[in-house]
């Protein structure tokens, strides 16, 4: 772009041949492109970085570890294989692991013992520990501690070596110990086998069959959340916990599962109502001339500017009273704490028919030539038939945009579900369910669960975004040309 100008000014002043000048200008063009791409990549890191980094950190046992690194044991293939093998040995399930009667889990752990330290056999215990607190913590579970048997710890290997600690070379030996955790006799299947291995002071944990979940007490205790985790149980530990740990107090069903289901139903209901009614309204506004059309149009515009806080008070009362008592016809007194309440009512722009979707459809129908319908009119069809058979099928691109945008809106909706759905936990949708996650687990610093829940809930929208990118970007650009 600058080339022409630069060429001109060089020609005016210098003694170089046109070849040389062209090369000079071309170099600048390449360099500029390089700089722009670098800036773009840097900006991409800024915008995608937090999402990507939190997704990777959600795999960690403790996402709050400091310094926050990306050296995550859950990403080592050797751990994947070990976790799957231990899972098969423990519960016959290489994917999710477990602990069943008859299980025998052999395990090895290696320490570095400096010369001046005398190492004793480490002590292995299966502690009575339950994961996390919070939602569903009142459920009764079986503890592996009551059924597991730990064989005596034996020394398996010993090899002299030297390592450097804080830049100093320390001589000593690697000592590997082995033991077996087994489940003799009869009993219930158990989800997890937590294990703590305590070594003598001064020795340094090097490695074990499976990398320890955490090292505690100044390096003396290697702690494992589950000795037989299976592949998913190890790599996606927090994700498995999201489904397994948070359970409804009354039914015992997985809360996260219910929330996902509710969000899905809510999104589907909103898509259907919007596809049916918003298109009809958009069609009417685009095609017919009637008294009060301008007034309705202004009203729709206005409804987008009024904050949801103005309308939610009355809407809350309407939903509480079952839409002026109408729902009593179906034997329901109130729509509070029900998905129907969320679907029917709406803070600000109604959830059922959104004003912005009416706009999209109106604009689309205005772009379809009238002649198409007039041809059908000659055949003597009614207005409704023409709409359903001729116009509606033609609107496919706009319907796509409406579907995608409605899905995103419903899936991410926060304020109105928060007003309508308060208890029990089962009835919530994903966004407000995640809020309960934050309230229950955040205080305990259990960010693994919260991050995994957040990432899981974002996956559907992200997938849909990548598949239907065009509609998203068009929808936004449409907003730009609206006025």
């Amino acid at each position: 772009m600058d080339d022409a100008a630069a060429l001109q000014s060089i020609q005016a002043t210098t003694r170089y041949t046109s070849e040389e000048m062209r090369a000079w200008v071309a170099r600048r063009r390449w360099a500029l492109a390089g700089i722009i791409y670098t800036i773009m990549i840097a900006a991409a890191i800024v915008f995608v970085g937090p999402l990507l980094f939190s997704a990777l950190s959600s795999l960690k046992t403790n996402p709050l570890e400091y310094p926050p690194g990306l050296n995550i044991p859950q990403l080592y293939p050797s751990n994947w294989i070990a976790a799957a093998r231990l899972g098969r040995l423990g519960g016959g399930n290489p994917l999710l692991g477990g602990f069943k009667p008859g299980a025998r889990i052999p395990f090895r752990i290696t320490y570095f013992v400096p010369e001046d330290v005398s190492a004793e056999l480490p002590e292995v215990i299966v502690p009575r520990r339950r994961p996390g607190a919070g939602l569903g913590a009142v459920m009764k579970i079986d503890y592996a501690a009551d059924y597991a048997h730990v064989s005596p710890v034996m020394e398996a290997e010993r090899a002299p070596s030297a390592i450097s600690i804080d830049g100093e070379r320390v001589r000593g030996e690697y000592i590997t110990y082995s033991f077996t955790v087994s489940y003799p006799g009869e009993g219930p299947p158990i989800d997890r086998v937590p294990v703590d291995i305590t070594s003598s002071p001064g020795v340094i944990y090097v490695s074990s069959t499976l990398t320890a979940s955490r090292i505690e007490r100044l390096g003396r205790v290697a702690s494992y959340d589950n000795l037989a985790p299976g592949f998913f149980g190890y790599v996606f530990r927090n994700y498995v916990r999201v489904f397994k740990e948070a359970r409804s107090v009354s039914t015992g069903k997985s809360l996260f599962f219910s929330w996902t289901l509710n969000s899905g139903l809510y999104a589907i209901a909103r898509i259907i109502t919007n596809l049916l009614f918003a298109t009809m309204a958009g069609y009417a506004l685009a095609r017919f001339n009637f008294r009060g059309k301008t007034f309705i149009f202004m009203l729709v515009l206005f409804s987008q500017m009024v904050p949801g806080q103005v309308t939610f008070i009355s809407n809350y009362l309407v939903i509480r009273d079952g839409i002026f008592g109408l729902t009593r016809l179906f034997g329901v007194r109130s729509l509070l704490n029900s998905l129907w309440g969320v679907i029917i009512g709406g803070a600000g722009s109604s959830a059922m028919i959104e004003a912005s979707k009416v706009f999209i459809m109106k604009q689309f129908f205005e772009s379809i030539p009238r002649e198409v319908e007039e041809a059908a009119m000659i055949d003597g069809t009614t207005q409704l038939q023409r709409y359903w058979r001729v116009v509606f099928p033609m609107a496919r691109p706009a319907l796509g945009a409406v579907t995608i945008l409605t899905f995103q809106g419903a899936w991410n909706d926060f304020f109105w579900p928060l007003v309508v759905l308060t208890s029990p936990e089962d009835i919530k949708t994903l966004p407000i369910g995640l809020l309960s996650f934050r309230q229950t687990y955040g205080a305990a610093g259990d960010w693994g669960l919260i991050l995994s829940g957040a990432i899981l809930s974002a996956i559907p929208v992200i997938i849909i975004f990548f598949v239907f990118q065009k509609y998203f970007l068009e929808g936004v650009s449409f907003g730009g040309s609206k006025k």
Partner: protein, 356 residues
């Protein structure tokens, strides 16, 4: 007939709701009594409420700062993306990522990064540790670039101060120089304790004076997050507007010797003027009604540092153990609505008058 379902819904959940809110705002309704007409008492009571005044101040500061920064930021990124280069569409999608996930997901991730031993404090620590090296690098780049530009000019080429080809050369040379210097041990990393900035559980304000400008730190945390998530959306709107600008405008300006900055102010900014109103209006509506982030931060921050008008309304409607104050909540909601509308109309007239 086609409009019937839409009108019924709009009538019940919008028109009727608005009318009721106005009526409630003149009564002392609390969900359990028979509403009594109290005139303007709720509105006058609002301005005696410490929390409402705080919410008002927070909302105004938040709206001004976030709207300004995100509009400018989006415009700058859009004008860079508008360079006709291959593969930029890929970046466009990447930038849009933060805008598609729900506010809850983004807020939770940011809450995690704002922890005392979180990513933000870690990056700040690293920045302080590497400060000497970064300064050396920048110094080298500056010196080398100056030398190179002067040399090119001596040779008779019209090199500008930020000549891209020379800049690339200087950056590479400077990186090599910095590497050598640090290998030789002439500079080293600084020993700094981990930064322990408290983002959340604090009542501290920046700047601490004057009172009307003092922003609580947790509110700043929400501002950073909101700017991050909104820039992509606005960037796309700007980009759509810039698409219509013929590339020949920029070429013509180059021929007349215009700098990149001059081109930005004289071509890009006027080109997006029509959507500027929309973007600023959307930004103001969104920021003045900010609610989700406050609700999700919840008890992780002191309520008074982040309370906004929208949250004030919700809080009075569902105050937990106490009786709801529907009248007061409605009055605050109506105030919020009128305030938003006034500002939107006001900025429209301002932007319009500037075009002429």
């Amino acid at each position: 007939m086609f409009l019937a379902p839409f009108l019924i819904i709009l009538g019940i959940f919008f028109v009727y709701a608005c009318v009721r809110a106005v009526i409630f705002s003149f009564t002392d309704y609390n969900l359990f009594n028979t509403p009594r007409w109290v005139g303007l008492a709720n509105y006058t009571a609002l301005f005696r409420e410490a929390n409402f005044l705080r919410a008002l101040r927070n909302s105004i500061l938040y709206s001004i700062i976030v709207t300004t920064i995100q509009t400018i930021g989006a415009l700058i990124i859009a004008s860079i993306l508008n360079a006709k280069l291959k593969g930029l569409n890929l970046f466009r999608s990447a930038y849009y990522m933060p805008s598609i996930a729900s506010s809850v997901v983004i807020t939770l991730i940011f809450l995690w990064m704002y922890q005392r031993r979180g990513l933000f404090n870690y990056l700040a620590t690293q920045l302080l540790r590497y400060a000497p090296i970064i300064l050396i690098f920048l110094g080298f780049t500056l010196v080398i670039q100056t030398v190179l530009v002067l040399y090119e000019r001596l040779r008779g080429f019209p090199a500008k101060w930020f000549d891209p080809a020379l800049l690339v050369t200087s950056i590479l040379l400077s990186a090599a120089g910095t590497f050598v210097v640090s290998i030789l041990g002439l500079v080293s990393l600084r020993e700094v304790p981990p930064v322990d900035f408290i983002w959340l559980q604090t009542k501290q304000q920046i700047p601490s004076r004057p009172e009307f400008l003092a922003m609580p730190i947790p509110l700043i945390a929400i501002m950073i997050q909101n700017i991050f998530t909104t820039i992509p959306t606005f960037m796309l709107i700007f980009l759509a507007a810039l698409k219509d600008v013929p590339i020949s405008y920029y070429e013509a300006a180059s021929l007349d010797g215009a700098t990149a900055i001059q081109k930005f102010f004289h071509i890009t900014v006027p080109a997006v003027q029509p959507v500027l109103f929309l973007v600023v209006a959307l930004g103001m509506i969104g920021t003045l009604q900010m609610f989700d982030q406050v609700a999700i931060f919840g008890n992780a921050v002191p309520l008074e540092s982040v309370i906004t008008l929208a949250y004030f309304v919700y809080n009075r409607m569902f105050p937990g153990a106490q009786l709801p104050e529907v009248g007061l909540a409605s009055a605050a909601a109506i105030f919020l609505a009128l305030f938003t509308l006034t500002l939107v109309v006001l900025q429209r007239t301002i932007i319009k008058s500037e075009v002429k």
